[in-house]
């Protein structure tokens, strides 16, 4: 039903930065930033600490599996020798066939087992990691969340964590087994004949530098490459998102031309990048499997000079050829390493974020009184810059009274309200609840004292009852219903197909803003905290529901210490104290006026101007308003 709204509001969910951050990393076979492998491992390996036994088992099993992979090569070599020696019988060869069969079966069984082990371990690790991050997110200053671009943390918890699976479930067993195989085979070859062994590994001398120079050349251009792709992605996303506006303003051709340019540029850049990088890329892939080119001449020469037996020659022809394939696997991992390391670092940033310091012991609290004393606070920006938003704010909210916070947008009202719940710690001064500094009680105790109803209600993808019960997880069904009744929500909830068991969220019922807000109030009522903070709680109410919502709020406020932010001043004109915040010229917010409604009107300051403005917009018809309002402003 609400689809209609989405169309006009423009519904592209992806923001440009999101696209640019994630979409350039479709791993081509191309090289990437080349952080040293050791650095990558230092960051990545600790993630395998949970369940390390399983990872170790998986790695060892994988190594056994890849060693079995060598079996058929060896068997074939022996089978050929049976023919060459002329001593073998049909029975001997059947026996070799059987041995090969055992190797093949063992190899695949071991690999399957290893893969199964590593995946199970990885999924368990990711689960623990996500839970830990979820816990951590509840304990860090809220600024950790607000300072980031929208969607960034969600992406970290879902996608970046998921990406670690590549390392945990794949790279650990693959790399270990590739390394073991490489070492074992190399040793084996050297034991048979060191000169031939050198010939077999000689291509590495060429491939190594090729890989390095390819990676370097790629890395030089890689930033440009990503930039061209980002520009294109950004342009496309913006094109789609802006389409409604662009079309209604008849600007389609220009914006299309811009986007087309960006796409063509990116394609041209990719093509040029490919042309430049391809020779070394191709050479590497051709050479890495072509030690035949050194084995054949060396082998033939040594054999002809009688310093190499026929058996050893055949051995190198069969086993020595192509054993470097495992080097290819190592190389491919090194191209993924940059992405994996990046994902790991992003994950670590949240996983290791500093939580707000927490005291373990519950404090003795007095009456529900809020005392804000000389509080100053700065927000940290995206770029770590700090912006002072509150300065020298002091007030006391006595138990059972109403304190209103009013003022223009950006004056710091919401920040102040959130500080009361210790979403952040203040920079200067102190906030105490019940006579105790909020930093000197456990978060759980503070949250028992304070219920917070936000401007934009957040309901979880759960049933209605489940959402209300967040207020007190052990509440009975009766308690839930009682709270819903008090919040004026029982009636519409009962009208829903599944009543209290109606599922909310994407797949569930859609509620109007006012209905959602009343569920949030029921939740707060159920919690029954002595202090209530309302942040613009009626802001998104549809007018039709407003009266019911207000009744619910009255119920919630009754007998509690209430701190309330309101834009519509008439609602708070009966407050015991009104604090007027202002942040002139982008400076920090301060309390510029305080008192009761009548006192503030008499003061004839900011409050009285706000009052007159709101009075006008509420009551005067549009046409008449122009003149009288211009006098006010």
């Amino acid at each position: 039903m609400c689809k209609s709204e989405e169309v006009l509001t423009g519904s592209a969910r992806l923001d440009v930065t999101e696209m640019t951050a994630t979409d350039t990393d479709h791993g081509d076979a191309g090289p990437d930033h080349a952080p040293s492998v050791a650095d990558g491992f230092r960051v990545l390996l600790p993630f395998a600490r949970i369940g390390r036994g399983q990872y170790a088992a998986s790695a060892v099993t994988a190594a056994l599996g890849t060693l079995c992979q060598l079996g058929p090569f060896w068997v074939v070599y022996r089978a050929i020798m049976e023919f060459l020696d002329g001593t073998g019988t049909r029975g001997d060869l059947y026996r070799w066939a059987l041995i090969a069969l055992v190797f093949v079966v063992a190899q695949h069984a071991l690999m399957a087992w290893s893969t199964w082990l590593s995946h199970r371990a990885a999924f368990a690790t990711l689960e623990q990691l996500r839970l830990r991050m979820g816990d951590r997110l509840g304990a860090v200053p809220l600024g950790f969340v607000t300072r980031r671009r929208s969607g960034e943390i969600q992406r970290t918890m879902n996608d970046d964590v998921e990406r670690l699976e590549q390392f945990l479930a794949h790279a650990i067993p693959d790399l270990f087994s590739a390394a073991v195989t490489l070492v074992v085979t190399t040793v084996w070859l050297f034991v048979i004949d060191w000169r031939m062994a050198l010939a077999a590994v000689a291509v590495l001398l060429v491939c190594g530098p090729l890989m390095a120079s390819g990676a370097r050349k790629g890395a030089d251009k890689l930033d440009d490459y990503h930039r061209a792709l980002s520009r294109m992605n950004g342009s496309v996303v913006e094109f789609v998102r802006a389409m409604p506006v662009v079309r209604t303003f008849n600007r389609s051709e220009e914006t299309f031309a811009e986007t087309k340019d960006a796409i063509e540029d990116a394609a041209a850049f990719q093509a040029a990048w490919g042309r430049e990088f391809l020779p070394s890329f191709t050479a590497f892939y051709v050479l890495i499997v072509s030690n035949v080119v050194t084995i054949v001449p060396a082998g033939v020469w040594l054999w002809q000079t009688d310093s190499l037996s026929t058996a050893d020659l055949v051995f190198f022809f069969i086993v020595g050829l192509g054993y470097l394939v495992s080097v290819m696997r190592l190389f491919e991992f090194s191209t993924q390493l940059a992405h994996l390391t990046l994902a790991a670092n992003v994950v670590l940033e949240l996983d290791e974020a500093e939580p707000l310091p927490e005291v373990p012991d519950r404090a003795e609290l007095g009456a529900p009184r809020i005392e804000v004393d000389g509080v100053g606070f700065s927000h940290q920006g995206l770029d770590d810059s700090r912006r002072r938003v509150l300065d020298d704010v002091s007030f006391v909210a006595e138990p059972g009274t109403v304190t209103a916070l009013v003022g223009p947008s950006g004056s710091g009202k919401s920040t102040l309200a959130k500080l009361l719940c210790r979403f952040w710690d203040v920079d200067d001064g102190a906030i105490s609840v019940g006579g105790v500094d909020v930093r000197r009680m456990p978060a759980s105790q503070l949250m028992e004292q304070v219920a917070f109803v936000f401007q934009d209600t957040f309901l979880f993808d759960d049933t209605i009852a489940g959402n209300i019960r967040i207020g007190r997880p052990d509440a009975t069904d009766d308690d839930v219903e009682r709270a819903a009744r008090a919040a004026q929500a029982h009636e519409f909830i009962s009208g829903l197909p599944d009543g209290y068991d109606t599922q909310l969220g994407e797949r569930g019922a859609r509620l109007s803003g006012g209905e959602r807000q009343r569920i949030a109030i029921a939740r707060a009522l159920l919690k029954d905290a002595p202090i209530v903070v309302l942040d613009e709680a009626t802001a998104y109410a549809d007018p039709e529901n407003e009266a019911a919502l207000q009744d619910a709020l009255s119920e919630l406020a009754a007998g509690r210490t209430l701190v309330m932010i309101a834009h519509r001043l008439s609602t708070i004109s009966g407050a015991d104290q009104i604090l007027v915040l202002d942040a002139p010229d982008g400076g920090p917010g301060r309390i510029v006026e305080r008192g009761r409604h009548d006192e503030l009107i008499a003061l004839d300051g900011l409050y009285s101007r706000l009052w007159e403005a709101s009075d006008l917009s509420d009551e005067v018809a549009l046409g008449d308003a122009v003149r009288s309002a211009q006098e006010v402003l």
Binding site: G10, F123, G134, V145, E165, T282, M447, S512
Partner: protein
């Protein structure tokens, strides 16, 4: 090496799109004839347009490369046989070395040419295809193009094309190369000894249908998994969005059921998948490799039985290992094939949406700036009307307010006038002309839209205001900004009108953004204004300013507004009250404020409620 990636698709694939099935054809866009998507290879072929020749050349070169890779193996087999017969001379040795070296050079050359054509033609072809599909998107009804049900069009245009690109320039040649070498070797062996060649082919022949069967299982499992994961991931996303609520109820992290269960679900789904699929992943590769013992046994049977000479048996033994290795590469690439295929399906779904028909040259001329709805019915989904029986006229120069509860289709009315969607029934007219018969210029010269959630471009404030009239002078821009009550706050910004907004620039409050967009509309000065009034409350000074800006917008225009504020509603010349009852939204009352109050119906009741609300005060 684990051969098949059990956990299949990349996670951003899941979160960005959900499953391919989500992208069902959208209403308003019926599929015309056969769909765009016709299987991965044919659709890719289609996307390649005039670069098909390069792609074909690339694949041909890759097959040739496979042959050259086979040459050294043949040389080795020949050397072994010569040695066995004790007739390997030093001139033979020179010949062998030269051939091996030459094949290496040939491999490099063919590989390089193949890569070059594959890469360059893919990048260019994908670029062109992107542009073509953007052109297509541009011709869709705006509603269709920005509806979530269409899937995220921008994600299709960016990541899906990127995925197809990766598939086309990387996987496709690798797959052909990996199949090419075994085929080349098998053909060669067929000339040596057909029965032995069949023993080599036996395991492959057995493995192929099993491989296809398992692969189908993988695909369906991946779709199922993507579905389950998308739902679990969205609950994780929700936890982060609701972190404030979670904290204020001390229900953070694993204490919150919905979060903990979502995380558990991710593991459960993945575990289930691993248990089901891991053993399967190794079955077909294992079967292929069983060819080694089979060939040894067959060589023993024929070689010692005298059916073939010993040399032939040896040749087969040397070559057997080179046949099966590359096939394993195919298994690895299948995952990319699957991802590319899913991306192609989503691209196809967008391409299949029907474009909106609009005349290029004017055929009719609106005679006035009246807006008229004539028995209009519309639904976003077939069979589910959102509005029905809408008939009204908004006379030129008057203000019409649309009121009603959420879900009654208020915004839909604006969408239909601006042709974001076209009605299923009835006609929308401007000045007597059906909006479907107007050119884009005619329509949007007449109509301007002020959105509720204002979209501002990354750019300067000036650019944003001048968007409707790029040639406007600075004075005109300032004049519009003043009229929209935006001049004051703009002038107070560090760079004034040249302040950049958006990421890394100034952030504006909701009220300020809406005033910038009103300035934009004022500058364009279209005779018909569609306004979706912001429903969230703003502080009184902002509200006041917005109100004045609106008053400015009203002058001399036909204003149709989805109204939330009492003052706006009251000053309307005509109020349309929408109500759903049980069915679609219909106009249940109409008239001026006073008339509707006298009528004492839905409107009067709501008005009384709201008046009561307006007088409410909070007390402890």
């Amino acid at each position: 090496m684990s051969l098949v990636d059990v956990d299949s698709d990349s996670s951003n694939d899941v979160s960005a799109h959900g499953t391919p099935d989500d992208v069902a054809p959208t209403p308003g866009g019926t599929v015309s004839g056969r769909g765009f998507y016709r299987g991965p290879v044919r659709t890719t072929w289609r996307l390649f347009g005039d670069r098909r020749r390069e792609m074909a050349l690339s694949i041909g070169m890759r097959l040739l490369q496979a042959v050259f890779i086979g040459v050294p193996v043949a040389v080795v087999a020949w050397i072994v046989d010569e040695i066995r017969l004790d007739r390997f001379s030093s001139s033979d040795a020179w010949l062998a070395v030269v051939i091996v070296a030459a094949s290496l050079v040939a491999q490099f050359v063919t590989g390089w040419v193949s890569n070059r054509y594959a890469w360059v033609s893919t990048f260019e072809a994908i670029g062109d295809a992107r542009i073509r599909s953007l052109q297509h998107v541009q011709r869709l009804p705006i509603g269709v193009a920005s509806s979530r049900r269409t899937g995220d069009v921008s994600a299709v245009m960016t990541s899906d094309f990127e995925m197809v690109s990766a598939f086309a320039h990387n996987s496709l040649p690798v797959i052909f190369g990996a199949i090419g070498l075994p085929i080349a070797v098998l053909i060669g062996l067929a000339f040596v000894d057909a029965p032995l060649m069949l023993s080599v082919a036996l395991s492959i022949v057995v493995a192929v249908p099993i491989f296809l069967l398992i692969n189908r299982r993988f695909t369906s499992a991946a779709v199922e998994r993507a579905d389950l994961l998308a739902s679990a991931n969205s609950r994780v996303v929700e936890y982060v969005q609701g972190i404030g609520v979670a904290r204020s109820f001390n229900q953070t992290g694993r204490k919150l059921d919905s979060f903990r269960l979502a995380v558990n679900d991710v593991r459960r789904v993945n575990d289930g998948m691993a248990v089901k699929l891991v053993p399967l992943a190794f079955v077909s590769m294992g079967i292929v490799m069983l060819g080694v013992p089979i060939v040894i046994a067959a060589a023993a049977y024929r070689g010692f039985g005298g059916a073939v000479d010993v040399g032939t048996a040896v040749v087969f033994l040397v070559l057997v290992l080179r046949v099966y290795g590359p096939l394993i590469q195919v298994g690895v690439q299948v995952e990319n094939l699957r991802l590319g295929d899913a991306a192609l399906r989503r691209i196809g779904a967008v391409m299949d949406l029907a474009e909106q028909q609009q005349p290029i040259e004017p055929t009719v001329t609106p005679t006035s700036h009246d807006v008229e709805f004539d028995d209009v019915g519309f639904g976003y989904e077939p069979g589910r009307r959102v509005v029905d029986d809408l008939s009204f006229t908004a006379a030129a120069g008057t203000m019409t307010a649309i009121v009603g509860a959420s879900g009654t289709g208020k915004t839909t009315i604006l969408n239909l006038i601006a042709r974001f969607w076209d009605p299923d029934e009835g006609t929308v007219r401007i000045g007597g002309a059906d909006v479907r018969e107007l050119t884009a210029d005619q329509l949007f010269d007449a109509v301007t839209v002020v959105f509720q959630d204002v979209y501002l471009f990354q750019g300067t404030i000036r650019d944003n205001i001048a968007f409707g009239r790029p040639d406007a002078s600075d004075d005109e821009i300032e004049e519009a900004a003043r009229a929209a009550q935006a001049h004051h706050f703009i002038a107070a910004l560090p760079d004034g009108y040249l302040t950049r907004i958006g990421e890394g620039g100034a952030t504006l409050s909701g009220g300020e953004r809406q005033r910038v967009s009103i300035a934009r509309a004022l500058l364009k000065s279209a005779p018909i204004v569609l306004l979706d009034e912001a429903s969230a409350s703003v502080d009184p000074l902002n509200e006041r300013a917005l109100h004045l800006a609106l008053a400015e917008l009203v002058r001399d225009t036909t204003l149709i507004v989805v109204a939330h504020r009492l003052s706006t509603i009251r000053s309307a010349d005509q109020i349309l009250v929408l109500d759903t009852g049980e069915g679609p939204g219909r106009i249940v009352e109409r008239g001026t404020h006073d008339q509707l109050i006298d009528l004492d119906g839905v409107y009067a009741r709501q008005w009384r409620e709201r008046s009561r609300a307006a007088n409410w005060r909070i007390t402890a």
